[in-house]
Amino acid sequence: MVDAFAYVPAVVLLPFFSFLVALGAGKYLPKGGAFGGIAATAGSFLLSLWIAATVAGGRAYDETLYTWAAGDQFELTFGALVDPLSALMLVIVTLVALLVHVFSLGYMNDEGETGLPRYYAGLGLFTASMLGFVVADNLLMAFMFFELVGLCSYLLIGFHFREPGPPSAAKKAFLVTRFGDYFFLVGVVAVFATFGTAAFAGEGSFPALAEAALAGDQAVWTPGGLDVMTWFTVVGLLVLGGVVGKSAQFPLHTWLPDAMEGPTPVSALIHAATMVAAGVYLVARMYGFYALTPTTLAVIAFIGGFTALFAATMGVVKDELKQVLAYSTISQYGYMMLALGAGGYVAAVFHLTTHAFFKALLFLGAGSVIIAMHHNEDMWDMGGLKARMPVTYYTFLAGSLALAGIFPFAGFWSKDEILYEALVHGLNEPLLLGGYVMGLLAVPVTAFYTFRMVFLTFHGEPRTDLAADPEPVRWNVKGPLTVLGSLAVVTGFINMVPVQKVLGLEGIDYLHRWLDNEWGGIDGLSSHHYADLGPYSSGYIAGGEVPTVLVGAAVSLGLALAGLGLAWRLYNVASPTEHTAKLGGIKDVLYNNYYLDELQVWIAYRTEDIAGGADTFDQGIIDGVVNGVSSVSLAGGSRVRRIQTGLVSQYAAMLTLGLIALLVLIGVNGGWFL
């Protein structure tokens, strides 16, 4: 049979070609090149499935495909690494991309947007970069595509460049993530300097070398003879900078809500399902390195937990549909970070998977609502859409249940596992426990704002004429919604750990076994290996594993239901009203996102002030000196010329004096007068 892995580059290149086609010939093609993109992503999706199947068939793939720079000091290469993790990610990305392309037909074409070739070119390039990032086999390549992903998000967020908002949002998105990427790049360079390679997998890979170095049987370069452990922690944190930026973790999360300026499908694809996932995916990709440094893990966990709670609280008071979803995205990625920090590698990937589906679903649902509402996003103008757009409603509901973590929807399983991991490992780790507590507190908040959103949008009476008579949506909107809706319901079942633990049914934790290379994979990249490397030991409450599982699940589910109930109580009425007043002073803080944007704006302005000062200094002092030299010498010149008085007898006098001076000089020097 043909080797599926031979087509790994094709997976990346197909969308790239669709980018070229849309860019070059888009305006001559029907639908502005949409079909090209659909075909390409569909192709990539099928190939990804095939590749995943091949991996399931017990094989993996790690090849260097192209040498970028063949130095003796370092060899900089591109390659493909296909193991269970990347295979899974490939499927997710291509599927969501495909659905988003289809949905765009409804959202962009049917709405008569202009500049569609640019749009589909952007989508294509984005998909290509993301896939390139997923299959990257070394840190440098990962960084490169990571950056390209950033470029695409810039282009797509700023798609409506004629309006003032989007360009600014795009700038902010790129700039903030660029700030994170700076640390990432330093990390990449540091990895090269330390290990001489940046490969993810294999004997010579840098996680393996790091492991050996810590074991003491491998010498590595460290700056100024720094202790190896400390240095690795530093490197890990540096790379983490990029993660925090891309995955919109505190304090670099501020770009994501603004990024909602982009077209909704873009938000679905980039700011929910895939690009933001890149950060988390990166940590998972090089988890073998992070697992070695407890400090880094603890930091990751704490950032994650904090972000989860922090973002959720802000989501409570937002009035616009997509804003709520934006903050929920940030919060959910906080959970994944918490999981990774807590040593819950599988849990993180699990939540990544489920979240990709239900968040894409929610965004597309929101998109459908926005179409219906003629691009009015304010939830207070909606209401009662349930009856008028049932498909959207039920799929959206499924997504919301998943997001809120209600049994048995996808989100419940993944979130529950995360919290469980955090708990059992956190019992001996105070920092981690803090993360767990915050994650737990975020659960009811999440449930609350999710259903506040649902009720305000779909339930009650229509609060405007628009809502009373929404514009119908077509198959190209409903189709993707249906697919994702069903996925949001079922994805959870790929990894029913609690069930397995409680009922003792072996082997239904498919994802665990998948990521544990049970069907095949690459040594050193298995969840078991990571667990062995990890610093954590499990502790249990209420005596034993099973009770812990049950208690944990029960608590989180209870909290979720509580939040849901509160939302029901406040907003599931005919004509709901603002209750934010009850929050008192906190309300403003939440409305203003804890004034973090203001802080960053302030920093930006101060930087510009410094720049202005530098400019003044440059023009005044440095250039002043340069010009000063010339004016001084010219002044000297006009002094000198005054010697020429025009009076010939004075010439005679000066001539004589000069001669005498010369005589004296030479005479004294030669000692004639002695």
């Binding site: 720079a69 460049f161 090269f192 510009e608 530098a614």
Partner: protein, 510 residues
């Protein structure tokens, strides 16, 4: 012989264009200027040099005729190429035709003189990059000033005379300082050299040929020579604090001249630094590594901060050139394969990218007759293609992967971070790298203000679509940038080959 043909042809072309009528001087100049480019491609295809021309590597297309003998030193016509000079020759011959194309629109007076001077400058630039005899090199080095003086002074902006004279006098003063420093070095070599051929001088210094000279110890002579030449070249590069002539020159110069100024003339300085300071006097270079790295970092950050403060698009790009040159200096001083090689590669990359930026800004200027950030907004609405390329170029400047700029900068960073010969290398590198954030900051905000948002233009000009001969060079440059970004080894391979001897030259001392 072929190099003589290349340079000679360019001189003849300059003469021919000078005599041509203004009406079609531009077309003629473009047609003629493609010939050297083809020639340099031929050179590239036949390139067979190994190692570094100065450290006894085999020199490609070498040819040498004695010219003058003075003070027991023969001055000869001695030209040749190695892995460091060839990319720069190709860069020069590649940029000049594009610059000439981009001049068709803005230059509307005394065209034949303009294009003649452009070609005359190209010829001298080729001389600078091919000459292997100090005096010959210096002749070309100085001769570049003359056409530049006229190009800025005659066709420049409102303050063109000030800018021209400032550039002229400042850089010439620097050359004289450099000349004296280097001459004293050659005379301190005494009889160990019989000519001013750079390879011979390099060898002599490496073999410890320096003698005590008028009571000055060899070590001090070398150090003085290093400082003098370094300061001399620092003006050309330019390195902070010798950079103030650059923004003035750039702002006043017409677009095509800015393209060559940023694209090639600045590289003369870094090229000379690499050839003279870091290849001939590696001991002094590594002795002064920390201060040099410090000013490199200062150039990067300070230049970027200045760019952040500017309102004139050209000034922004000009200051960002100062910043980018700082990377090159950092790469040179660390004496690693990727450092020195990356620095050389960055010369080419920055040549292309800054050229593209200046050209694109020029095209916008042709349409709007303003370069002030405040005067326009939403240009993307009126000139989509140009703006598209401008955005692409800007991202190239920010070091977007798979574009040449990233390759150059990453090579430098990865080469510098763990450099053994430079103390605190990681700190310096990390500090310098922060430039990539600031550059994104000012370029993005400048683009947001001028290119995007609702269309608005203060000057009352009707914006037509830019003519093909304005946009074509932009596209070509962009293509070249991407190609080099995807396949840097096109040049980087030969550059590494030529850079390794330099690195080893110091690694024995460290």
């Amino acid at each position: 012989m072929i190099l003589e043909a290349l340079i000679g042809f360019t001189f003849l072309a300059a003469l021919l264009v000078l005599l041509a009528p203004n009406a079609w001087a531009g077309r003629l100049a473009f047609a003629l200027s493609t010939v050297p480019f083809v020639g340099s491609l031929y050179l590239w295809s036949r390139f067979d040099a190994v190692g570094n021309a100065l450290t006894g590597g085999t020199i490609a297309f070498e040819s040498r005729y004695e010219w003058v003998e003075v003070g027991g030193r023969t001055v000869s016509w001695f030209v040749g190429l190695d892995g460091i000079s060839l990319p720069l020759v190709v860069l020069t011959t590649f940029l000049v035709p594009l610059a000439i194309l981009s001049a068709w629109t803005p230059v509307d007076t005394r065209q034949s003189q303009f294009y003649g001077l452009m070609l005359f400058m190209e010829a001298n630039l080729l001389g600078v990059f091919t000459a292997l005899d100090f005096f010959l090199w210096f002749v070309f080095w100085e001769a570049v000033l003359v056409p530049m003086y006229f190009l800025i002074g005659v066709w420049g902006g409102p303050r063109r005379k000030y800018a021209a004279i400032k550039f002229f006098v400042y850089t010439n003063a620097a050359s004289l300082l450099m000349f004296i420093g280097f001459m004293s070095l050659t005379f301190a070599l005494g009889d160990s050299i019989g000519s001013l051929a750079l390879p011979e001088i390099t060898q002599a210094i490496a073999d410890g040929g320096l003698e005590t000279w008028f009571g000055i110890s060899p070590g001090r002579i070398a150090m003085v020579a290093f400082l003098a030449t370094f300061a001399g070249f620092a003006v050309k590069v330019p390195i902070v604090p010798f950079h103030t002539w650059l923004p003035d020159a750039h702002v006043e110069a017409p677009t095509p001249v800015s393209v060559l100024l940023a694209g090639v003339l600045l590289k003369m300085g870094t090229y000379a630094l690499l050839r003279f300071n870091f290849t001939m006097l590696p001991e002094q270079a590594s002795a002064l590594a920390v201060p040099i790295a410090a000013i490199a970092v200062i150039s990067v950050i300070y230049g970027a901060m200045l760019a952040l403060a500017q309102k004139d698009l050209k000034r922004i790009v000009a200051y960002s050139s100062v910043s980018s040159m700082g990377y090159v200096i950092l790469g040179l001083v660390v004496f690693t394969e990727y450092g020195v090689g990356g620095a050389t590669f960055q010369m080419v990359a920055h040549g292309l990218i800054s050229g593209l930026m200046f050209m694109a800004v020029g095209v916008v200027y042709n349409a709007t007759h303003t370069r002030m950030v405040g005067d326009m907004a939403g240009m993307a609405d009126r000139m989509p293609v140009t703006v598209g390329i401008l955005v692409a170029g800007a991202f190239g400047y920010m070091g977007l992967p798979l574009m040449a700029g990233f390759a150059g900068e990453f090579f430098i960073f990865v080469g510098a971070f763990g450099a053994p010969s430079l103390p605190y290398a990681p700190v310096f590198t990390a500090l310098a790298m922060f430039g990539i954030v600031i550059v994104a900051g000012y370029l993005l905000s400048a683009m947001q203000k001028t290119l995007f948002g609702p269309f608005r233009l203060e000057t009352d000009y009707e914006i037509g679509r830019a003519p093909f001969h304005d946009v074509a060079p932009l596209a070509v440059l962009l293509a070249a940038i991407v190609v080099l970004g995807v396949a840097p080894d096109l040049f980087f391979e030969m550059i590494r080959d030529a850079a390794m001897p330099v690195v080893e030259g110091v690694s024995v001392d460290v």
